[in-house]
């Protein structure tokens, strides 16, 4: 009797397993195509529908394939979704106006699960199956981008993303690669101005012991060195749940201000530790930590003397400065699942995706071509454009600074790009709502 039960169970389980494995192997293809009218939000196996949306001039001709590579599995998946949201909105707008040099844009996405080797695999898969993309968003973090660029470079495929390592800003090595969000040293000029105005002589930085964190610390060191302000730092491991030792180390060096670099739980732990130590030092959450929903995670009493470095144009008060952002927000909210993503990640992340395509299109218009090489050399001569199609900051994007040249492929913001505000929260429009004035 027990034997029969064991056999039955064995057959059931192995049968189910076999079915499951077959289903996974068959249905699971490692890439997903989404049309520009449906924002992807995570279900497997949706079919790509055709792309024409209601608009004046329908785009015809061979699709222009834009490949987005990101992590859709781990806790950062919502950021990948936000970037794809932005790409989708841009693609819709461009397609409605006739496409990119007449070609309809088709967005494809692949999931690299934050593994650079997987990312390269997925790209290789596309290339060898004849599905060569016309342009690509190579992963968005420095390791994945670096891993992918050698292949993309060889194939002369245009790549644009928001990685932040300055080693990637090397047009001589990567002529077809551009960044559409500032490097880790972007926020430095604004901070330097603040530090000087407050008379700070020594800055402490607490940062994560990974690529972004280390690059951030280096940026502060290099950026402030020339002005006679010394910078000390302490790193924490990404798995740490308590930063008291690191803060103690910094406190012992008597700094005038503290820069908090970290996103998510680490940012929380840092402020918690700071309060536990009773260390009432002016603290500034850097760009990485700025989009964190501070006010929903901590009571106001815990947030004293904490300021967030935020892009000026992300404050609701300044929304009038750039009409494009309002349209971006409303278009994004119109997409299925868009409002939720927008409210969780903030419009800046959506912007990264949106700008990528708009910049590409701008270059294609200048070059009258969609070839990677042609667009790249056109973008090298962007100079000081006016009436930009992307969401820049300032009426002519003078703050956003997408001033590509043949020696610089990353935006350069000036000190006015950022302001320091009290900690706030992302509202339903994806803007940063900070109660209280800037510091």
């Amino acid at each position: 009797m027990a034997r029969k039960a064991a056999t039955t169970r064995y057959l059931l389980v192995s049968g189910t397993a076999a079915l499951a494995l077959t289903a996974v192997a068959a249905c699971g293809s490692s890439s997903k195509s989404s049309s520009s009218t449906t924002a992807s939000s995570g279900s497997a196996g949706t079919t790509a529908t055709s792309t024409s949306s209601s608009g004046s001039v329908p785009a015809t001709g061979k699709p222009f394939i834009f490949l987005y590579d990101g992590d859709f599995t781990s806790s950062i998946s919502v950021y990948s979704q936000a970037e794809v949201l932005g790409l989708t909105v841009a693609a819709d707008q461009i397609n409605a106006a006739g496409g990119i040099q007449g070609h309809p844009i088709k967005i494809e996405q692949v999931n690299d699960q934050s593994n650079p080797t997987t990312a390269v695999n997925l790209l290789q898969q596309k290339l060898s199956s004849g599905d060569t993309p016309n342009a690509m968003y190579p992963g968005g973090d420095s390791e994945t981008t670096t891993a992918l660029l050698s292949t993309l470079n060889r194939q002369k495929i245009l790549a644009i993303d928001a990685a932040s390592a300055s080693s990637l800003n090397d047009p001589s090595k990567y002529p077809y690669y551009f960044g559409d969000s500032e490097l880790t040293n972007g926020p430095i000029p604004a901070f330097l101005a603040l530090a000087k105005s407050k008379g700070y002589k020594k800055i402490a930085v607490v940062y994560g012991n990974d690529v972004t964190g280390q690059a951030t610390f280096q940026s502060y060191q290099q950026g402030l060195a020339g002005s006679g302000i010394s910078v000390v730092g302490a790193a924490y491991d990404d798995t740490a749940v308590d930063m008291t030792p690191q803060l103690e180390q910094l406190k012992a060096q008597n700094p005038d201000a503290l820069v908090v670099s970290g996103y998510g739980a680490p940012a929380l732990y840092i402020i918690k530790s700071r309060n536990q130590l009773g260390w009432n030092i002016p603290s500034y959450a850097d760009e990485v930590a700025s989009v964190f929903p501070w006010t929903t995670s901590l009571p106001a009493s815990a947030l004293t003397n904490l300021y967030v470095e935020e892009a000026k144009e992300l404050l609701p008060a300044n929304i009038g400065d750039q009409p494009a952002i309002s349209k971006l927000i409303s278009d994004a909210q119109a997409q299925p699942g868009g409002s939720k993503i927008l409210a969780e990640t903030g419009v800046q992340v959506v912007n990264v995706g949106y700008n990528a395509l708009e910049i590409l299109n701008f270059g294609a218009q200048l070059a009258h071509s969609i070839s990677g090489a042609a667009i790249a050399s056109a973008l090298d001569k962007t100079g000081s454009p006016t009436n930009v199609p992307w969401v820049g900051f300032g009426p002519n994007d003078e703050y956003g600074g997408m001033l590509y040249t043949s020696t610089n492929h990353y935006p350069v913001e000036d000190a006015n790009y950022y302001v320091f505000v009290a900690p706030g929260n992302i509202n339903s429009q994806g803007l940063y709502e900070a109660p209280g004035a800037s510091s």
Partner: protein, 613 residues
């Protein structure tokens, strides 16, 4: 398959795999095959320590990363694209690191070893960070050149050929190594380090050997990976990878040579497919691992076997074939052994104190060649402690042990065994996965060593000596009347046969003294008879036999001299007749003054208080 068509089919299969890129397989699948090959190298390294040596040494990822970064460093900072140079450098590096990280494994076992080696994976990012100049730290190492072999660039198809060929070479080496006395020694180690030392195997050396052998393919895989990617970052060497490697090893079958390839293929392809489940990926992957663990934990082969067994039981595959059970045939004197050069085993003034208790108290006795010397005594009398002292498992508190001229008291168990002491265990430690003849041949592993190089290369000297060892095993088994059991799995034998197998195994090492620990306990009449004949054979061939026994009638039958122990001290010594009529001995055993004849009638003392002191 006929003997000729097997190798031919293998060659054809290998040629086919090598030719795949020219047969229309595209660049993506070529790359996938390369990745599977690389992963299977790492997994097979784990198979050596996990499947063969039985160690949960799961730090392969650290060795893999080391190989990759050594290759990366050598090629980038020295502007060297030669792949052979990178391989040599990486192998050297990985062997050193494998030895160093293997040292804790010498003292640890079980879960502790697993934890320590898992932790090694966590150390990869900080160590890379500290060596930032050489490794690029967390940002990674870029600019690894396209590899060259003798000046020719290895790119695309030629790189594929190199990777697949290297993998094939490794698996040939691996197979030759584990399907040999060396592999058998590892299986013995896996079952019981105590058994291994009693066979003269130095447990430390064999473990280190296993770590080194397991480290090499991981290092090679690292080199291939570095050149494949052109770029290295710590993100490629994560804890998830360590789990994939462990799962692949177990699912493919840790003891299967080629199972590593199956496991690697599964763990390379399935997780990639699961990525399409996006935010559900982790849930699906977790479920996949649970299923894989439940179904395949004894390997794919084990899974199939269980299915077959169940199918047969349910009558789905017809009546089960009647199994030939190895029933030893009755033996007469089937021959004689070659002369055994037995030596005199002498113990003088030997004492062993545990805390304040003297388990062995000033014992002096000896055992002569060509004689059977029996050691008897009630429970707690110190018989087994004495045996363990002679074998080197304990250090004496005072006194001397000598075998012929050579002192034994300060030797470790494996050195004692190599000096010519052969021992059987009351509870035979029987390794899984060996045939009886192979297990018996293990007895000769350290006395008749075959080198590693002839083993790997299957040189004529290897073939000749394994054939000789095997023939000798068979002959010993037949002499003892259990020749039928030669090809059975030794772990499936009944108790009586196992005891005789132990005797055969001890004979295989041509020892100078035989120590039989309760070898007759639990045997029925027929098996006891066979045992007596076996002991006779050894005595007649001039061997020195020490018999520790509870079974008084057996002792009376075979012993030439009997030493009686009580409370750790020697109570009496003499011939069987003398001991039988010794009143003090009788009192010890039965608690009353009964005549010797009556004692012999009592029959075998109840065996299930077989725990000895």
């Amino acid at each position: 398959m006929t003997r000729l068509s097997r190798p031919a089919a293998t060659v054809v299969l290998l040629a086919l795999i090598l030719a795949l890129p020219w047969l229309g397989v595209n660049a993506y699948w070529t790359r996938e095959i390369i990745l599977v090959a690389i992963l299977s190298l790492v997994v097979s390294g784990l198979n050596v320590s996990l499947g063969y040596a039985g160690e949960l040494a799961v730090g392969q990822v650290a060795l893999y990363a080391s190989g990759a970064y050594v290759a990366g460093y050598v090629s980038v900072s020295h502007n060297q694209s030669d792949i052979l140079l990178a391989l040599v450098a990486a192998i050297v590096g990985v062997v050193l690191i494998g030895l160093v990280t293997g040292i804790p494994g010498l003292r640890l076992g079980g879960w502790s070893l697993a934890m320590v080696t898992f932790f090694l994976v966590l150390l990869i990012p900080p160590v890379l960070d500290l060596l930032q100049k050489q490794t690029g730290g967390s940002l990674g190492l870029t600019g690894i050149p396209i590899p060259t072999l003798f000046g020719h660039q290895l790119n695309g198809r030629s790189f594929y050929l190199f990777v697949v060929a290297t993998t094939m070479v490794w698996f040939a080496i691996f197979r030759n190594l584990v399907k040999s006395p060396h592999g058998n020694a590892l299986l013995v180690l896996k079952q019981s380090p105590i058994l291994a030392s009693s066979l003269g195997i130095s447990v430390y050396r064999l473990k280190l050997f296993a770590y080194v052998v397991g480290a090499i393919p991981a290092g090679v895989a690292g080199v291939l990976f570095a050149f494949l990617s052109g770029y290295l970052s710590p993100d490629s060497f994560t804890f998830s990878l360590a789990i994939e490697i462990l799962t692949a090893s177990i699912v493919g079958g840790s003891q299967s040579v080629y199972g590593a390839i199956f496991g690697a293929a599964l763990l390379q392809i399935v997780p990639e497919r699961i990525a399409s489940f996006q935010t559900w990926s982790l849930v699906v992957y977790g479920g996949f691992l649970v299923l894989a663990g439940l179904l395949f934990s004894d390997g794919a082969v084990g899974f199939a076997r269980r299915g077959l067994v169940m199918a047969r039981r349910r009558g789905l595959l017809g009546a089960p074939a009647s199994r030939r059970v190895a029933v030893p045939t009755a033996i007469k004197a089937q021959g004689a052994l070659e002369p055994l050069g037995g030596a005199v085993l002498s113990v003088s003034g030997l004492s062993k104190l545990f805390g304040g208790v003297a388990a062995v108290d000033n014992v002096t006795l000896d055992a002569q060649p060509g004689q059977v010397t029996a050691l008897i005594g009630p429970n707690g009398s110190g018989k087994t402690t004495l045996l363990n002292l002679i074998c080197g498992y304990y250090r004496p508190t005072s006194g001397h042990i000598a075998l012929g001229e050579r002192p034994l008291e300060s030797r470790s168990p494996d050195r004692t065994a190599r000096a010519g002491v052969a021992r059987t265990f009351q509870t035979p430690q029987i390794p899984k996965g060996l045939t009886t003849r192979a297990f018996v041949a293990c007895g000769a592993f350290s006395t008749d060593r075959i080198g590693v190089v002839p083993t790997i290369l299957r040189l004529p000297s290897f073939r000749r000596r394994t054939r000789d060892q095997d023939a000798r095993s068979l002959r010993l088994l037949e002499l003892l009347g259990i020749g039928d059991a030669a090809d059975e799995a030794v772990s499936s034998l009944p108790l009586g046969t196992r005891r005789l197998v132990e005797v055969a195994r001890s004979l295989a090492s041509s020892p100078k003294v035989f120590l039989f620990d309760e070898v007759g306990s639990g045997l029925d009449e027929e098996d006891l008879h066979r045992l007596e004949l076996a002991i006779d054979l050894i005595r007649n061939a001039g061997g020195t036999v020490v018999l520790v026994e509870h079974n008084f009638p057996l002792v009376l039958k075979v012993a030439d001299r009997i030493h009686v122990l009580s409370n750790g001290a020697l109570l009496a010594t003499g011939t069987p007749e003398e001991i039988q009529s010794n009143a003090r001995v009788l009192e010890e055993y039965t608690g009353s003054r009964v005549s010797g004849a009556a004692l012999a009638e009592v029959g075998p003392v109840d065996d299930d208080d077989g725990g000895s002191a």
